[in-house]
């Protein structure tokens, strides 16, 4: 369980305001938001790379320490290591870092991903660097996997394989937790249990995926009829579309209802509402 207790961060051009939420153990949490909304800041605060101005982040009731870190796998938006370092050297660092390191699993993943340990990091493409990070993160059998845009730079075929792999990883042991941020919302629709939406440093919502689907719908109809709802809308050729939260609004019968995809929710809440 990861707990954000009234966490605020103040930077020169950005602030994260008073975030309080609890990430439950044993679920897949998808983190969405626009560019610069604060997803990476959220993840880095969780990983103790950013220290909150006020508030604190607790991992199972305590501040993040080395014992907790041993159980965390992480994949960042790029492979942050000396560019001339060979993958083999980074593997040796990981081997020393994690007592639960599984050399066989690592070799299997390297083979499956077609990676060569003798290659320097700067020789790898972005997608291949990401694969290397994935292999390193999974090979110590973590309980928690934190990923910041792991699917960016991956080709569609490998992305699908990777999503399947994550599903298998979650199913392999109880109480594993997976948190990942992404712009590819369709990845999350496939298997996320919770969706966390961050916008301009604030948490827009943190809801179970099924509740989200139940709650938000798209309504379509003539512009005047949709405008009468008094919610932000998007219009085209006298037809309008709006996102409705069914828990606070009754939908008139003259409007057509459509399932809202995650992308629609993000779009209407962060773009159209502005």
């Amino acid at each position: 369980m990861i707990e954000f207790q009234e966490v605020s961060l103040q930077f020169k051009h950005f602030q994260m305001k008073n975030i309080s939420l609890t990430i439950p153990k044993g679920y897949v949490i998808g983190c969405i938001g626009r560019n610069g909304s604060g997803k990476t800041t959220f993840i880095k605060t969780m990983m103790d790379l950013y220290r909150p101005t006020t508030g604190q982040v607790l991992w199972n009731g305590a501040l993040l320490d080395q014992q907790q870190k041993e159980k965390i796998g992480f994949i960042y938006d790029d492979f942050h290591h000396w560019k001339n370092t060979k993958l083999k050297a980074v593997r040796k660092l990981y081997e020393r870092a994690y007592p639960t390191w599984q050399p066989q699993l690592y070799t299997q993943l390297l083979d499956a991903y077609g990676l060569n340990e003798r290659q320097a990091i700067h020789q790898l493409s972005k997608g291949t660097r990401m694969k290397a990070q994935i292999a390193l993160a999974l090979s110590h059998e973590p309980d928690v996997l934190i990923m910041d845009e792991p699917t960016s730079g991956l080709d569609p075929v490998f992305r699908r394989t990777f999503i399947h792999q994550l599903r298998d990883w979650m199913a392999a042991r109880e109480n594993r937790t997976l948190l990942f941020s992404t712009h590819i919302t369709s990845d999350l629709e496939q298997f996320a249990d919770y969706i966390l939406c961050i916008d301009q440093g604030n948490v827009r919502f943190f809801l179970p995926t099924d509740e989200l689907e139940e709650r938000f719908v798209l309504v379509k109809g003539p512009v005047d009829a949709v405008r009468a709802l008094g919610v932000p809308m998007e219009s085209h050729n006298n037809q309008a579309t709006a996102l409705i939260d069914r828990t606070i609004m009754v939908i008139p019968e003259n409007l057509y209802i459509e399932r809202a995809r995650l992308e629609d929710v993000l779009y209407f809440l962060t773009e159209v509402s502005e």
Binding site: L9, K44, L49, Q66, Y76, H80, H81, W82, L93
Partner: protein, 206 residues
């Protein structure tokens, strides 16, 4: 702590060939190797900090099971061990050189101690500046300090005297004072940088 030391080793292992090359160079330039070595030690710190900021290596390292205090302790310890290794290796190389040339006396260890102390003082300042401030600001402050101290040294070097073979007690006193000051300053730099690093936001440009 072992993990933090290992990540330092990943960087410093490339220095070992240089240590061997410098030991050979001593035969030709004797004490002349010391000043370039001071520049090298300083440059190595600056290069390490700048490249790790560019590649964001620190984000990966601090996400591993390693505390910030350990990270910083390993950094200071690695530089200290490197400098001391160089001092010992260069003195050893000088002794060998003097023997080969059948000099009557051994090289004066006080000279080496003075060099060790002065380099330690320089490293203390550089480590603190570059780990405490942004790269641009650190370069600016360091350049100002460097020019300032160069001017002071030039003004004070009008009465230069040959000290390399001197074994006078005053040289030993100077060596002890400089090395103690170096040690104290290095400890102070370590303490101040570690304190700052505990609350630093890692790798943000926001």
């Amino acid at each position: 702590m072992r993990l933090a030391l290992y990540k330092e080793w990943m960087y410093w292992k490339y220095v070992i060939p240089l240590l061997i090359i410098c030991s050979f160079l001593v035969y030709f330039v004797e004490y002349g190797i010391l000043l370039p070595l001071t520049f090298f030690m300083t440059g190595a710190i600056i290069y390490q900090v700048i490249t790790e900021r560019q590649s964001k290596t620190i984000e990966l390292e601090l996400s591993l099971p390693m505390s910030r205090d350990e990270w910083m302790t390993a950094r200071f310890l690695a530089h200290f061990v490197n400098l001391t290794s160089f001092a010992i290796a260069m003195y050893g190389a000088l002794v060998v050189t003097y023997n080969v040339r059948a000099f009557q006396e051994l090289p004066n260890p006080a000279i080496m101690l003075i060099w060790w102390g002065i380099t330690l003082i320089t490293m203390s300042v550089v480590l603190w500046l570059f780990l405490r401030f942004s790269t641009n600001r650190a370069i600016l402050i360091f350049a100002s300090l460097y020019i300032g101290s160069a001017v002071i040294m030039m003004a004070g070097s009008k009465t230069d005297s040959p000290v390399l073979f001197s074994t006078s007690p005053s040289l030993w006193n100077a060596a002890v004072i400089i090395s103690v000051v170096g040690l104290l300053l290095y400890s102070l730099s370590y303490w101040m940088t570690k304190r700052h690093f505990r609350t630093e936001t890692i790798g943000t440009k926001r």
